[in-house]
């Protein structure tokens, strides 16, 4: 990667590095997830430190050779999304998903746009039950862009279109099978999958099923290590 010049980016995570520096995990519009060293950023008088916050739209330049680049320059790119309370914790959850699942330097432009939009939505005060649905839509986009998109149209074995009131079992990486007593996979109704496809999921039954489905889908990618932010959100509820 040549030296980049003021790329739109968000900070996903930072950890101390040596005495006064930090390693930043970034989500950038053009290069996807990028790791950079921010030298001296933990010094008291660092001008960059107040800028480099989670949920703040940034313009960043970095250079050097991967996988760990050097941060050159940082500017703010608009007002910070001020997430509060449970929305702030949900932001951690989203960031944890991205840090756990995105590969370095694969571009995900659509996911980046979805991430930015989600932060805007999360900053709109108390959004109540909508919060869960926004997270589901983000998870759906994430799975799709990682190459694990869901099959939301047909029953796998027969190829028959999904029916809203029909019950199915959904198996990760395969799809929906007609429900049967001994079936494995996430049990759900056709309406849930059709709703996920159309972007409209209003019934509480469907939303509950969608949550179970996404959880299973993500679990198969995340492996045994639990999501810490999910545990934190659970403790807050």
């Amino acid at each position: 990667m040549p030296r980049t010049s003021l790329q739109p980016a968000y900070l996903l995570h930072h950890r101390p590095y040596r005495e006064t520096s930090s390693i930043l995990e970034l989500f950038t519009a053009e290069y996807g997830r990028v790791a950079v060293v921010a030298k001296g950023v933990r010094r008291k008088k660092s001008r960059l430190q107040p800028l480099l916050q989670l949920y703040r739209p940034l313009l960043l330049s970095w250079r050097g050779r991967g996988p760990l680049y050097s941060l050159d320059q940082a500017e703010e790119n608009g007002a910070m999304h001020s997430l509060a309370g449970i929305s702030m914790m949900s932001g951690f959850y989203i960031n944890e998903l991205l840090v756990r699942l995105l590969h370095h330097e694969d571009a995900y432009p659509a996911l980046y746009a979805t991430y930015e939009l989600l932060l805007q939505q999360l900053s709109q005060g108390d959004i109540g039950a909508e919060l869960e649905w926004l997270l589901r839509q983000f998870e759906l986009r994430l799975l799709h862009d990682l190459g694990y998109g869901l099959n939301l149209e047909y029953e796998v074995e027969t190829g028959e279109p999904l029916q809203p009131e029909q019950r199915y079992h959904y198996l990760p990486e395969q799809g929906a099978f007609y429900w049967q007593e001994s079936g494995v996979g996430v049990p759900l109704h056709g309406a849930t999958l059709l709703g996920l496809a159309s972007g409209e999921l209003n019934e509480s039954r469907s939303r509950r099923e969608a949550k179970q489905l996404m959880r299973r889908m993500l679990a198969s990618l995340l492996g045994d290590k639990p999501l810490n932010s999910r545990e934190l959100i659970r403790q807050m509820m």
């Binding site: 107040p50 703040r56 545990e231």
Partner: protein, 198 residues
């Protein structure tokens, strides 16, 4: 110049101090060896004792070698007031400047879910116990104005509220000696929101 193995080790070990590179470590080593052997012996002894004896105050979690720190022991402090901070250095800073007369609770960090640091890792189980049993009636949240600091403050605020205790967040503004032009927009917007009658 060739240095003996022990001198090399001394220089190498001095570098664990913050801000000490190879050159300054070498200067320190020679200073101690050439001019201040007694100082060196005292330093070694103090370091050893500190590393072995200094633990955490069982009440506020700050660093100390006794069961309770001097602030927690001080009968003149107002034990109805607890100020929650991230580090022992924050306690020192507040003590030097603020005239605050309550107690402290030192988290020794902040919530950081992505690093696996949860509520109990920053002592919130201990804080909750104290709030339930003690006569505390106000908790001041003085975590840093970072997203993690805010999340930590929010989490504690929820916990404190459930126990029917008041909590307040310290105000943040433009740092003294800085220029508005170079202040980030979030800090400015908070400073404006928290403005006071002149």
């Amino acid at each position: 110049m060739a240095l003996s193995p022990l001198i090399r080790r001394l220089i190498e070990d001095l570098r664990c101090l913050p801000g000490v590179g190879p050159k300054s470590a070498q200067r320190m080593a020679f200073q101690l060896l050439e001019r201040d052997r007694n100082g060196a012996r005292r330093l070694a002894d103090t370091l050893l004792q500190s590393a072995e004896k200094i633990g955490h105050c069982t009440q506020c979690r700050t660093l100390c070698e006794t069961e309770l720190c001097t602030i927690c022991c001080d009968q003149r402090r107002d034990s109805r007031l607890i100020c929650v901070v991230e580090t022992p250095a924050d306690v020192v800073a507040l003590e030097q400047s603020s005239g605050y007369r309550g107690r402290y609770f030192v988290l020794m960090g902040h919530l950081s879910p992505l690093d696996g640091i949860g509520p109990n890792d920053i002592g919130l189980d201990l804080l909750a116990e104290q709030l339930k049993s003690d006569e505390v009636n106000e908790v001041i949240l003085a975590t840093n104005p970072t997203v993690e600091g805010e999340a930590t403050a929010h989490f504690i605020h929820d916990m404190v509220q459930r126990l029917g205790i008041t909590s307040s967040r310290i105000a943040f503004g433009v740092p003294l000696g800085s220029e508005l032009e170079y202040t980030d927009s979030e800090t400015l917007s908070r400073a404006l929101q928290g403005r006071q009658p002149f």
